[in-house]
Amino acid sequence: MSGGPAVRVSIESSCEKQVQEVALDGTETYVPPLTMSQNLAKLAQRIDFSQGSDSEEEGTEGEPRDREWGKQEQEEEEGTVKFQPSLWPWDSVRNNLRSALTEMCVLYDVLSVVKEKKYMALDPVSQDPTAGKSPQVFQLISKKKSLATAAQVLLKGAEKLSKSVAENLENRRQRDFNSELLRLRSQWKLRKVGDKILGDLSYRSAGSLFPHHGTFEVIKNTDIDLDKKIPEDYCPLDVHIPSDLEGSAYIKVSIQKQSPDIGDIGTVSLFRRPPKTKAGTQPWHAKLEAAQNVLLCKEIFAQLSREAVQIKSQIPHIVVKNQIISQPFPGLQLSISLCHSTGDKKNQRTTPEKASPDDHLYVLEHNLHQMMREFHKQQLSSVVMPHPASAPFGHKRLRLAGPLAYNKAEISNLQQSEGLLEKIIKQAKHIFLRSRTARTIDSLASRIEDPQIQAHWSNINDVYESSVKVLITSQGYEQICKSIQLQLNIGVEQIRVVHRDGRVITLSHQEQELQDFLLSQMSQHQVHAVQQLAKVMGWHVLSFSNHVGLGPVESVGNASAVTVASANGEYAISVRNGPESGCRVLVQFSRSQTKELPKSDVIQDGKWSHLRGAYKEVSWSRMEGRNFVYKMELLMAALTPGP
């Protein structure tokens, strides 16, 4: 420039400013030039931060880039400033910012991962130089540490597992308790009082008036030590029964001949029967049943002793401790005792020898229970529904007594007057009378062989009456000698004997009476048998008497006699049989056969020879034959002339 002529060339900068608008007068208004900062902002706006760096986006975002390119072409057509991506202004700034952002994002992610500890934990990594210094100790320590943590984790898991198992068990036990409770509920009355479950084992709902409350408590028995082995009979439900109902009890009824020492009274032995538990029943059920049985026994005994005190009898009943003593017959003692063993061993030990005599009257014991139940039922049904329905509840007799103008006797007739004790004493009397009758008949039958006694006992009896049929027969002649058939109706106080011909004889409870009666019947039987035999043999009965007025007096009954004559009338046999004196048999011969008779001058005619002559006694014991009737048959046969 210096070599050239100094021509002053003035250069006006071309109008770089953009014309905003041209006014009508030709003046142009320009867009004011951008200031520095505006320019910067403009440039900065052009930077596309969203566009990734080349390396990232080439493969993945080819399409968007194509679009971008398309855009840029459009921009070219519009004549605006175009930029190659690599030629962006501040390209390096953008790239640096971008990489900084990426770094920051990575850092953030790492931090969040570390902080969350959900997926990953960071552990300090032992530095090589330190490991190099004392490698073994540190290794050991680190191993130990890691092992310890591993162990801890395992332990924690184990604990959790065992806890859940225990919880399960507890739940199951709870369920077991509930199911047991449900089963209990189906069989026993339960109610909830406060936080307790109480049950009722009394017979009150069945009509009992016994004042014992009979309450038991249901206990949850789930506090069992889990570590120990569960016993086999373990039950999650337990019952707690009142102490006075524990153990086992029964009513003992016995009849003794002699009265024991007064010191003995009231100390009836208690022998403990081992409780039999049926398989398949819950322990609580057995326990409750036993308690209920104790309760019933106590109620029976209480009722009996109350009646024993109230009832006036000729010989007063004695109630001592757990025993009631009554005298049904003179010299006989009925003892009813309540045996209750509460499980303590003392009673068991002291009276072992008493357990042996088993003189229970089981029938009476059973009947006592039965009567108590009947009593209950009566109580329950005594309050009948009123008719008409509007009438108030109450006893029937109360409703009837007024309108029907009952007197005292009629009212008391409506009441059940007979008590438990009276009934049981009556039953005991009957049982005793029956067994003594049986014994009497048996002893007679075994002592006396001829004639024979047969007793046919009826199987079905009333509690107050039973009957036996007594047949007196001779062996071998049962068909022809059926004269004596006795029906013995054994009652409470007496025995009624009904003869075959309808005669009725009443005997008292004394043993001797029956024995004497049977003896006299047996002696009569022999005479009857001769009579029957005579018919069969063709002999004629000349006379017959059950009660002979002649001869020696018998201490028991009367002697009976029969006289039979042979068919042709030549012989006659006379038999006299007494219960005590025994039998005498006489044979009368016809006159013709008696040699000793002096020939009379008066009766010379031959016909007189048929007159009977003297009697001769047969030495009966030396006769052949196994019994009386057989001997008689032989005798008759001997005296019958052969054909």
């Binding site: 008719h387 008409p388 108030p392 409703r399």
Partner: protein
């Protein structure tokens, strides 16, 4: 002949003044079975019993005041049973919170000549009906479920026509006066019958029309 002057005085039942606590309700015939089933479960363990009764209501009109009403009832199913004569007083006004209707009550068992006797006394029969149904008991409570039938020909209990298609349910207790625990028990019992029958205290004097 002129009727003797009658003074209508409150009646007290002898030495013990008994009150009847009463709750009433009704069920339709269709619901009877389920009600009986429920009652069998709730009530005392007794044989379920049915009854057929004939009730005659007698009036004695005095010079002033309300007529004096007596109810004579006999059982048709138990002809030998004594008659039952009953006086029922006016319902007690008083404690509104009490759950049952309370009224004076005198029960007398009577012989079979009761109608003649009442006639001689000047009573006149007002109306009669036949009630048949079931009777239950729970402790002191009496539950009577009955169907009421109108008697078409006076005196002929065979020829009847039922009054409605429902059964009358009555829960009653006889107790000395002032025993409000009774009504409490009754309410509890009525609660247990709730969905089947609604037992309420119904004042018969307000039902008059």
């Amino acid at each position: 002949m002129e009727a003797p002057p009658v003074t209508v005085m409150p009646v007290t039942g002898g030495t013990i003044n008994m009150m009847e606590y009463l709750l009433q309700g009704s069920v339709l015939d269709q619901a009877l079975e389920s009600l009986l089933h429920r009652l069998r479960g709730l009530c005392d363990n007794m044989e379920p019993e049915t009854f057929t009764d004939h009730e005659l209501v007698y009036l004695l009109k005095g010079q002033q005041g309300n007529p004096f009403i007596l109810r004579a009832r006999r059982s048709l199913s138990h002809p030998t049973a004594p008659w039952h004569l009953r006086y029922l007083g006016q319902p007690e006004v008083g404690d509104k919170s009490r759950h049952a209707l309370v009224r004076n009550c005198v029960d007398v068992a009577a012989s079979h000549s009761l109608p003649e006797f009442l006639n001689e006394m000047g009573f006149r029969m007002d109306h009669e009906f036949v009630a048949n149904g079931h009777i239950f008991r729970k402790g002191a409570m009496k539950i009577v479920v009955s169907k009421l039938s109108r008697i078409l020909v006076p005196g002929n209990t065979e020829n009847t026509e039922r009054l409605s298609l429902s059964y009358l349910v009555e829960l009653s207790v006889l107790a000395p006066a002032g025993q409000d625990t009774v009504s409490e028990d009754m309410r509890n019992f009525a609660e247990q019958l709730k969905p089947l029958v609604q037992l309420e205290k119904i004042d018969p004097s307000k039902q008059r029309h």
